[in-house]
Symmetry: C2
Subunit: 327 residues, 2 copies
DNA sequence: TTGTACGCGTTATCAA
DNA sequence: TTGATAACGCGTACAA
């Protein structure tokens, strides 16, 4: 069913049908006839043909590292809400945190002439930048601050500092379990906030109080094991993700230590699970859903204004203080 | 950058370039020239123009009820893995479980000429069926068994029966917290399995031992409250989802009862959280990730064979026995 | 207010 | 082996 058949059925030229669909001049009588025909046939103009002609696809490419992640899925939900409201469709690419896949999908997006891209990346290489430069589509980076690009990201640095302040109030020896610092947001900035706030409080940061883990409960468990074995005097641990914090909680419990009496715990992300475990875990709430919405709105702004003004939006945060911290 | 410019730069006709791209006859020398030009320019044929011409888009529409759900995101990950391997792109529609949205997106998919649709729905209305009938695209339904359609679904019925067998072995009074039965899979079939296996064991199912809740921890908590107030003699509860089971766990703990000594608990879905709470919750493992893969494979089969043979795939399950059940 | 004709970027047919 | 040309479905400038 195409516009020619509709035109034939309605007894008009296909230009008239096209005008009808695009708010052009059509007489009342023809308007009625065309309307009836379209309703009866359930005709829908072909998106491909339209975009070939109009050079606009209504498609937004979204690259995510891993869909089975609470923070990621919350952001995608936010993106989806805003885009769908504006009539855009979402072309999703799940890369499993694989650089090659990311690059591949950037190319796929170009091939599909997406109108814009929301890129939730964790690590950016030269290959990324050179490819992103090549693409003429507006790109909004979500979750990381990248100079020279429009982006929406979390205030990892200050959140970490605030978490440390919370811990030093009632703790003496603060441990840290971080993630790979190739991830600037969750890795570098959270660690930097931790270190600098320690220093500001006159505490010397020592290697023996620090560990690194993957984004997973099991990894958090193991890292805590290493950490506590090496430095049993630790009385507080800041974990770069909630999963790690949950793993830490498990290990601490097995050690027979009490939370928060013997050891305090703080995580990042405000995953649902932090409110379910016993004791519940104090954690940094990032507005992930809102970040997603915000990134989509920013992209829409760029699209409607026709100009990428490289706005950088740093989102707020708040501490969700639960039972794993003293006082 | 389009095929005409490439042709001009390479000093050949655009037909030759097209043949080069589509494995046609091209002499070695021209092949080289064209290859160089394409590599230097980074040219990619337009997907829109190709699909307009070839009547194939390489797009698969995927409708999901809610992305912030562990089971859904696992299935999407499975779908994504298989489709991306076969060079398909995924057009994602997150409907927030809203019927209107589902219908809207089915239409959007038609407009975009997706090659196929994977529909993860919970409740199917007449409007759904009439619209799905209209679409000439192959549809695979994921998560529900629907007569007359290709689908991949879980064995909710038998899983519920097995769960009941587990409970009756060491329990006497079995409670059930279900979800809305308009959802055939999680609502009707799990409940039916529960009821029939009770009967098979000579236990009379009574209304006072049954409750209904939404898919959420809080709702499970409240439902358990109602259930236990009404029937304090209950010593086992089967919950239609893990979230509900976690809510139940919270409430039971607040009642001062022990799990599993006083009350046993079983959930469905094998969410990560069941292994993290204390005590961990016995739960039915459905192969969600594999289901997603399976649905994608089924769709690919249909696409390559050109015939929708309405295959119905019932997936297996296994009990993940943890600490919330006796013995 | 309506219709004709062209072009968007491809691929496929056909003749050379 | 190559190139001219038609066609995919649509929107729009232009002429009527």
């Amino acid at each position: 069913m195409n516009i020619n058949e509709i035109a034939k059925l309605a007894g008009v030229s296909r230009a008239t049908v096209s005008r009808y669909l695009n708010d052009g001049y059509v007489s009342e009588e023809k308007r009625k006839v065309i309307k009836d025909v379209i309703e009866q046939t359930g005709y829908q103009p072909s998106a491909q043909a339209q975009s070939l002609r109009k050079q606009v696809t209504g498609l937004i490419g979204v690259i995510i590292p891993r869909i089975q992640s609470e923070s990621v899925s919350r952001m995608v939900a936010g993106i989806s809400r805003v885009l769908s409201e504006s009539g855009y469709q979402l072309l999703l690419a799940n890369t499993q945190n694989n650089e090659k896949e990311e690059l591949k999908y950037l190319k796929t997006f170009r091939k599909n002439h997406v109108d814009g891209i929301i890129f939730m990346g964790t690590m950016f290489t030269k290959a990324h930048f050179s490819l992103m430069k090549e693409l003429e589509v507006p790109i909004v980076i979500l979750g990381q601050q990248v100079e020279g690009y429009s982006c929406v990201y979390q205030d990892d640095y200050n959140a970490a500092k605030e978490a440390v302040r919370l811990l030093v109030g009632s703790g003496k020896t603060i441990g840290y379990i971080g993630v790979n610092t190739r991830d600037k947001a969750a890795g570098t900035h959270r660690k930097k906030g931790f270190l600098e706030e320690l220093t500001r409080n006159g505490i010397k940061a020592e290697e023996k109080y620090m560990e690194e883990a993957d984004f997973a409960v099991e990894a958090g468990y193991e890292a805590t094991n290493r950490l506590m074995k090496r430095s049993p005097d630790i009385d507080s641990i800041l974990c770069a993700t909630d999963s790690i914090a949950v793993g830490a909680l498990k290990h601490i419990r097995e050690l027979g230590k009490r939370i928060p009496d013997d050891i305090q715990l703080i995580g990042f992300g405000d995953n649902a699970i932090t409110g379910i475990v016993e004791p519940s875990i104090t954690t940094v709430h990032f507005y992930y859903h809102t970040s997603g919405e915000e990134s989509a709105r920013l992209l829409l702004e760029i699209l409607s204004s026709g100009e990428d003004f490289k706005k950088q939006i740093k989102m707020g945060y708040r501490m969700n203080i639960q039972e794993s911290t003293r006082k």
